[in-house]
């Protein structure tokens, strides 16, 4: 059986890549993908703990994370579409109408 630490390291790695992607990437779609990566890293760590503790709670939690992530993706993509229509760009640095 794969020890829990392996799972946790993979999940931490994925999560960190996601966080850095959000902070460093400039394309909105890529930023959004990085956020999804973070959520999936969380799923991985939940499933790892759930298996180690032989407890279903973690698995159930994942169901909800997946669904919420999908809902968020739908809303996010719609917002990205509407901002693309008004601004004709997806570069996050150009969304600066609200900077003082």
């Amino acid at each position: 059986m794969i020890p829990i630490s392996h799972v946790l390291v993979l999940s931490a790695l994925l999560f960190s890549i996601g966080v850095l992607g959000v902070m460093l990437r400039r394309n909105v779609i890529v930023v959004f993908m990085s956020i999804e990566l973070m959520l999936n890293a969380v799923n991985l760590s939940f499933v790892g703990f759930a298996r180690t503790m032989d407890d279903m709670t973690g698995v159930i939690f994942i169901f909800f994370i997946i669904v919420v992530a999908a809902a968020e993706a739908v809303v996010g993509l719609s917002i990205i579409l509407s901002i693309y229509r008004t601004r004709k760009t997806l570069n996050i640095d150009e969304f600066n109408l609200l900077k003082w």
Binding site: L39, T52, T57, G58
Partner: protein, 486 residues
């Protein structure tokens, strides 16, 4: 085999009523397209009022459901009633704004209701899974509400920023929950508390990292420095009634979650957390006030001032005694009402446009004396002058801090309050001392103050004054609801 009986649903009655109202409004909008927008608004308000009545009926019932996952204790009932009241106020403030800006979506009201439902789940649950779902129901609804003017670039941009940072912080929250789950084997707050009280449990790196991540996420949600960057942009880009709603209800919900999860759920006596919260409180107050001072847009100034007010509430969080926690509740309620009121004034058109900069406030005293007076009441309360709810709130917080010997924190808080006098009074000065000239071609709407909004604003102002003159009722309620927490 019955897993759930009807008694489990009792603490959920207000939520269920609201969900029913959301569906009714949605279907009304879909299948009776001819129906007036007023009908939708009135239906929404009726839903909120019925839920509020149900909420009051639940008081002292101590109902719990779903194996203790959902509780209707004093704490959740008080906060849920606050969300409902703010919801009603927001609807009252929305009608004319939606007409003025051509936002003809029935979905607006549906999303408002679902956002409130999400907040209610967040507040009344003891299980991190349900809290997370409630948080997401609230957040996703508010992302759409912020971006509902989809042809307006500012609104789009605000929605995008809110969504990205909201989802980002949700990632932190979930990772924190998962590590905490790994450390304690449970996602239910009471069981987590028990597990963390075992000797050595807090030396567990998983638990510490988990709690730290949850603190970061909560910091984003209640917008404390250094996690406040999204607040001014989102608040100024969103439609003004939505801004009012977010700054009041969403922030109160954030603090309710903060108290429920972090202060009662996780033992934070360790000096480390105290120092961290101390720094956050001081930074939040100072940055919020200094930035508010530098703004030219009133809406943005109010956005930064809402950050500053989160800082005052953080002072009480640092202190952490039951008295301080009850002042968190009192201040959340008082700020919610006065903040909604202040943003609410900005929804009403003046000289044909929605006021934004300080200059736009000129001429209110002459042409809209009633609104000028109401705005002054809200400003005085935000400063924290006596006879207003803001005064009692600050008094409670700083009293609690002094009792525990947090002298420096109190001093910094008071200095910050003094700083805030400048920009709040600047609003009052602009309202009363400057003659506005009617721009050429602008329609002079002297008599026209939208009735619904005026009702809401007068109501909010009376609540602010009521809380300042007779704070006893709410203080007792807050104190008793804190006692139900532990």
């Amino acid at each position: 085999m019955a897993f759930v009986t009807t008694t489990d649903l009792i603490p959920l009655i207000p939520e269920l009523i609201l969900l029913g109202a959301a569906f009714v409004v949605l279907l009304l909008d879909l299948f009776a397209p001819g129906s007036q927008r007023t009908t939708l608004a009135v239906t929404t308000i009726v839903g909120f009022v019925i839920a509020l009545v149900a909420e009051i009926q639940l008081l002292d019932s101590g109902a719990t459901g779903f194996y203790g996952t959902i509780v209707a204790d004093g704490f959740s009932i008080l906060f849920e009633s606050l969300y409902l009241v703010i919801g009603i106020l927001t609807v009252l403030l929305s009608l004319h704004y939606l007409d003025d800006h051509g936002i003809g979506f029935g979905e607006y009201y549906v999303l408002l209701i679902t956002a409130v439902v999400g907040m209610m789940f967040m507040t009344s649950s003891l299980e991190l899974l349900v809290i997370f779902i409630g948080l997401e129901i609230m957040s996703i609804s508010s992302y759409i509400l912020v971006g509902i003017r989809r042809r307006v670039p500012e609104s789009n941009e605000a929605a995008l920023k809110y969504l990205l940072l909201g989802a980002f912080s949700t990632g932190f929250l979930l990772y924190g929950i998962s590590l905490l789950y790994g450390a304690t084997g449970s996602i239910r707050i009471p069981e987590i508390v028990v597990a963390l009280q075992e000797p050595g449990a807090l030396n567990n790196p998983l638990a510490i990292i988990g709690v730290a991540l949850i603190i970061i996420a909560m910091g984003f949600k209640v917008a404390v420095v250094p996690f406040h960057m999204w607040t001014p942009d989102v608040y100024s880009g969103a439609p003004t009634p939505v801004t009012a709603f977010l700054s009041a209800a969403a922030k109160a919900a954030g603090f309710a979650m903060f108290v429920r999860v972090l202060l009662t759920g996780i033992p934070l006596e360790a000096e480390l957390w105290k120092d961290l919260f101390w720094a956050i409180a001081v930074l939040t107050m100072t940055v919020g006030n200094v930035m508010a001072l530098m703004q030219n847009s009133v809406k943005r100034m109010l956005a930064y001032s809402s950050v500053a007010h989160a800082g005052y509430i953080m002072v009480a969080v640092v202190v952490g005694t039951p008295a301080a926690l009850s002042s968190v509740i009192f201040y959340s309620c008082a700020y919610a009402v006065m903040g909604t009121g202040a943003f609410g004034i900005l929804t009403v058109r003046h000289f044909g446009k929605t006021p934004d900069s300080y200059d736009d406030l000129a001429g209110y005293a002459r042409y809209k004396p009633c609104l000028a007076f109401l705005m002054s009441v809200f400003m005085l309360s935000l400063i924290g002058l006596p006879l207003t709810g803001g005064f009692i709130g600050k008094l409670q917080i700083f009293q609690a801090a002094l009792e525990e010997g947090w002298v420096w924190l109190t001093v910094i808080g008071l200095l910050n309050s003094a700083l805030s006098v400048y920009y709040y009074l600047r609003v009052v000065v602009c309202l009363y001392m400057r003659e506005g000239s009617v721009p050429d071609g602008a329609v002079l709407e002297v008599a026209e103050s939208p009735g619904f909004a005026l009702t809401g604003l007068v109501g909010a102002a009376s609540v602010v004054v009521y809380l300042g003159v007779f704070p006893q009722t709410l203080l007792e309620l807050a104190a008793s609801s804190v006692s139900t927490l532990f």
